[in-house]
Symmetry: C2
Subunit: 309 residues, 2 copies
């Protein structure tokens, strides 16, 4: 009996230590403290094979693609990128509190529009995917739009157990594939980024393909277009796209070396809690809740490159 208790105690101690190892110091209660106390395991490098660089005269916008959610769109956008489809096209639209969108200004002119060589001009919609088999860390807060929200591979997402459907949510910075009236008229030739309050009514109506992880301010500060829906009416108002590149196609020294906080760890859960109930003394009332699009998804510059083998 004593021996059993002894072994239980050992087991408990070992488990406690194991937990303690991944636990943050108890003093880390604000986001700043949690980030400072985070472990290398709390972060993942941005995979260059699923990363786009949108190069503008004002700088680089870095986009992480979401092949788990929209495999065909992501493959097609990479194909378009690799045949330089986007190079020399332009930002076409900036609508306040909504989206910035880019593509071919002459897309509607069959004679003048940019030809597509190997990629596809249109694809079947990938608005939703089966929720079964999709990694999902639920957020314990009610959502106005979806039965359940949470995070999947670092992206804000929603799922519906009844229909076995899951989808990404239109939070600030999310990137989607514009389409015409037909659900299957997208494909990635026109892409938009959310630059305002999350337009969640677009969820399941457009294929979301990724999110901006760096440089969104280059898009969110664009002068708003004077035409309907924020389209620029004059060619001179459109900001040209210098190029779009897949990060893996650039030499290492030209890449942006970023790390993203994992969204399936105890540290991330603690970070969510630190934002749900703010402990900074400035706050007089704790919200007690957090909305999916208010959860920060931290990005940092990789402190030190791993030494090469």
């Amino acid at each position: 009996m004593k021996r059993a208790i002894f072994f239980s105690l050992i087991t408990w101690c070992v488990e406690s230590v194991a937990i303690a190892k991944v636990r943050l110091p108890p003093k880390a209660v604000t986001m700043r403290e949690i980030l400072a106390a985070s472990n290398p395991e709390d972060w993942r490098p941005l995979d260059p094979n699923r990363t786009l660089y949108l190069e503008l005269s004002s700088g680089r916008v870095v986009i992480e693609l979401a092949p788990e959610q929209a495999p065909n769109h992501v493959a097609n956008i990479e194909a378009l990128t690799r045949e330089k489809y986007f190079d020399g096209l332009a930002i076409l639209r900036a609508q306040d509190n909504y989206v910035v969108q880019w593509g071919d200004p002459k897309a509607d002119d069959k004679a003048k529009r940019r030809p597509i060589v190997r990629a596809k001009p249109m694809l079947k919609a990938e608005f939703v995917r089966p929720s079964s088999g999709m990694p999902f860390t639920p957020l314990d807060d009610r959502d106005t739009y979806a039965p359940e929200v949470g995070f999947s591979n670092g992206f804000p997402a929603a799922r519906d157990a009844k229909s076995n459907q899951a989808w990404l949510t239109h939070c600030y910075g999310m990137v989607g594939a514009g389409r015409d009236e037909d659900a299957d008229s997208g494909g990635g030739t026109e892409l938009y980024v959310v630059i305002g309050h999350a337009p969640r009514h677009l969820d399941r109506n457009v294929t979301l393909v990724g999110r901006v992880v760096s440089g969104i301010e280059l898009l969110s500060t664009m002068p708003r277009g004077g035409g309907a829906m924020g389209f620029y009416e004059q060619e001179k108002d459109r900001l040209p796209i210098l190029s779009v590149k897949v990060a893996a196609d650039l030499p290492e020294n030209e890449r942006s070396h970023l790390e993203l906080m994992r969204t399936d760890t105890p540290t991330f859960a603690k970070l969510i809690e630190s934002r749900r109930n703010r402990k900074e003394s400035w706050y007089k009332v704790q919200a007690g809740h957090i909305e999916i699009c208010n959860v920060p998804l931290p990005v940092r510059v990789k402190a030190q490159l791993a030494p090469k083998p």
Copy 2:
């Protein structure tokens, strides 16, 4: 008996016609159609006594103040405005997906800061007010942060029956009075505008004093500040404030003549429904819900000024 039925029918007809007069045509199902079919009674003129003009070199930002929610702050901001406190001060901060803020760059320097003559430098917080006695049109959708949300005098708001408290919600375009650590350290000398996803964790932590009804794009496109929390680090980066004026203090021909859609009418209820379940054929899935900060609060230029007496 027949007579009674006859009179009932008359009453029914009269009532039907009366209802029909304020009802929109049944075909008006999209926001565009509802706006086009709206009646003059669906709109209210912007009251010049509760309107501020923030004049920048890029144009005019029009702010409707909310004296029903923050009477002391609104009175103090008008007093500050009338003693030209803000004229020549600057936009101090632009933080992406958060706020733009203005005030005195030298506020922390007792010797150099702008003197306040008649207004007050600080005021007791007006984070909440009693919900009893406050007009409130509830929104029938669940909210992540508050037990109940809706609209009060044209502003997005929340209330809690249990505590008898009501407050404005931090939606895009809302204007608040910045403060230091102490809850009672605000007062209106520094004002901020929400330019990103609604930071609802600020609800009940700051006194909201109004909302931008025109010109928000002049603020939302400001280059983001390079310092902590988006503060501009260099004087040259700060956009000067030409002046702030109470609309009533300007001659009529220098005022912005705007009308706001009332939020307590059947037309506004219909508008909400048109956004909860979008009938435009582009939409393939109806959201079925709408979040308080996604409800549009339409503003229009007054079509025709009433003839002067």
